[in-house]
Amino acid sequence: MLAEALPSLTTDITRGATVSDLEQFRAETRAWLEENCPQSMRTPARGFEDIYTGGRTPEIKHPDQKLWCDRMAERGWTVPTWPAAYGGGGLDKEEAKILAQEMQRISARRPLDSFGISMLGPALLQFGTEEQKKEHLPPIVRGEIRWCQGYSEPNAGSDLASLQTRADDQGDHYIINGQKIWTSYADKADWIFCLVRTDNSGSKHEGISFVLFDMDQPGVTVKPIKLISGSSPFCETFFDDAKALKKNLIGEEGKGWTIAKYLLTHEREMISSFGTMSRESLGQRAVQTVGADASGRLANGVLRQNIAQYQLDALVFAYTMARVGDEAKAGQGLGAASSIFKYYGTELNKRRNELNLAVQGEAALGWEGEVYDGGQLSRDWLRSKGNSIEGGTTEVQLNIISKRVLGLPDA
């Protein structure tokens, strides 16, 4: 018995850290956060608009946002698990978990959130050269460069691989011509990671290359798209003899589709998690707005059933995300279940928004004004319609499951 208990008290070889080291790390982290996290950053961000995204001309809602980001970036803690060689925190899983717990303890918000962190960074770590990592990762860690993603085109949406934006070889650089659409926050981004066609001779999946270039040049024009929700998170982006240096080609020329697929998987995981940001129970809220019968049941039985079905599916979906995570941690690989996340998570989020309308009634139909909280509910509902379109439509996801998971043949 004693021998079994011992290893946890001494060095755990697999992690290289002792329990007391971890405890010391926790104590130091706690003290450092206490001293360095501004009081104003100890509240959750209020919606997407309140998240600090960095860049050359950052949108600053509160002066402490930049201060908090700079302090965390100095330790690499804007991206705690990236290698220290590229400016990251270099923390292992246990340490990162402790940092997250300690931040949560004081309700500290994340200092920086960006496409650089969530999308380009992981792709560079996987596919970039040493030189490319050294050049591009540290400015992401420090929030100095804001990135956008140039994927979809007017005629290449669900069929992304048929993209036509051209990149012509000019020796040490490419000249780029064409148009992207649905480029998230292109009007606010400094650089773009972009899929371009460097070769037209093979199949549509071949000849696509993944390049990075500065948006601040004469050949790049950006035009925001106003959505049904009234906001403009997406843009049309035009390239008219824009220039990309060849040293910023990621991976081999013509092999960009591999990187694109890797990033799409990443993006789908992000979008599918929208549906799991659970708030107070819809059913309980409905009791307030609709009323209950003598036995305490929601007075409208039809609404009650719809909400119960939604809450059941939301619960079961959350356990499915947990199960897939646990299986991966246990070394059982990323199961086939992960293929359903994008499809199911976004459909669930749309259901939640529709039910929210049904539960709130008139209050959810306002568009402007303080009484309607600026139309937050109706705008969220409208925005959710895009969840099952962006990053691969529900129909494309079902095609992928049919073919890759179930092995059903092509039409």
Partner: protein, 375 residues
């Protein structure tokens, strides 16, 4: 607890799958049905299952079981669902042993649990009285007379009734009081057991209790206080049935996908039609969700989780929904051949509905899920 199976559990699952495929699959079920088997299962196969320890998986070691927990039993039940294997594993082990363990005195547990774990004692719960699961509406009465109780009332859907040697009869000692449970021998005077042949080719039964006298120590636990133990037993039973429905649905789905990959019409493999592909893909997603809630609920039993009632109703409601869709789509996608008795897919449809109904269907459990959720 991580939502993942450990190596020991995976081995148990694999060995159950192997055994049932050989000894208790759909061909054996068809043979039992066609030969007019009274019990509806093969007693020799049941003895083999007990010999492998299955009857004692969830029974504590101190009472002759393996103490391996309900997660283990659930994994076996999932395989039972895949093969439509009938045996007293649900009636006697999942339900009756659990109720005795939750409600019985030390002496009653010593009397019954080792015998159930050994596969010798066969008990079955007699609860339902009307067309629907409604435990709060039990009217069977138990009148105290000296050192005895006298039971009167009627029961339906008593699982494996023809082969059960004892029944756990739910009754009320006082008409407006709480529930009580009595152990009644199958050959008690005044008890009539009517075998009822069900659509799933299993045998259930209707009981008529006409002044059946049992000794006072036939009462499990205390009079009028069986409610909480019965509720917990039903939660566990429903999670077990959800595990069976998971196996059943997954098997029906996988057989259907194989059919979609083989069957040709209009000169094409029908699985190439997008109208079928998307329905199959959606069903695949539902099955993955079903798998998660079943595992979560099984673990919750073993962990003694506070929210067991919610998880039990979530698991049963979800699995009723998924099993209904999977079994209906299986027949539809098989087309005409799926309507024939010769083809095996129909057996899955038939078993699904009985398992769905047993101890509360989708409507019952979705309503309960909402009620427990405060609306």
């Amino acid at each position: 607890m991580a939502l993942v199976l450990n190596e020991e559990q995976i081995m148990l699952k694999d060995s159950a799958a192997g055994f049932l495929a050989e000894k208790a699959g759909v061909p054996q079920l068809r043979a039992l049905r066609d030969s007019g088997s009274e019990a509806g299962y093969d007693a020799a196969v049941w003895q083999e299952m007990a010999g492998m320890g299955w009857a004692g998986i969830a029974i504590p070691e101190e009472f002759g079981g393996l103490g391996y927990g309900y997660t283990g039993l659930g994994l076996v039940l999932e395989q039972v669902g895949r093969h439509l294997s009938n045996s007293p594993l649900e009636s006697s082990v999942l339900v009756a042993a659990t109720l005795i363990n939750e409600l019985g005195t030390e002496a009653q547990k010593q009397q019954w649990l080792p015998a159930i774990a050994g596969g010798e004692a066969l008990l079955s719960l007699a609860l339902q009285e009307g067309p629907h699961h409604a435990p709060e509406q039990v009217t069977t009465s138990a009148r105290r007379e000296g050192d005895s109780y006298v039971l009167s009332g009627s029961k339906v859907l008593v699982l494996d009734a023809p082969s059960a040697r004892h029944f756990l009869v739910v009754a009320r000692v006082e008409a407006d009081g709480g529930l009580s449970v009595f152990v009644v021998p199958a050959d008690a005077a005044g008890l009539t057991v009517e075998r009822r042949s069900m659509v799933d080719s299993r045998a259930a039964g209707a009981l008529q209790l006409d002044n059946v006298t049992v000794p006072a120590d036939a009462l499990l636990g205390a009079a009028g206080e069986a409610g909480p133990a019965l509720e917990r037993t039903l939660d566990i039973a429903n999670i077990g049935l959800a595990a069976e429905l998971l196996g059943l649905s997954a098997e029906a789905f996988e057989r259907t996908v194989v059919y979609l990959q083989e069957r040709k019409q209009f000169g094409r493999i029908i699985g190439s039609f997008q109208g079928l592909q998307h329905r199959a893909a959606e069903l695949f997603a539902e099955l993955e969700l079903a798998r998660s809630i079943v595992l979560k609920a099984l673990q919750a039993i073993d962990e003694g989780a506070d929210n067991l009632p919610q998880l039990a109703s979530a698991a049963k409601a979800k699995l009723c929904e998924v099993a209904q869709r999977a079994s209906n789509e299986a027949v539809q996608m098989h087309g005409g051949i799926g309507m024939t008795d010769e083809h095996e897919i129909g057996f899955f449809l038939k078993r699904a509905r009985v398992a769905q109904h047993t101890f509360g269907d989708y409507n019952y459990h979705l309503d309960r899920f909402a009620r427990l959720g405060g609306f």
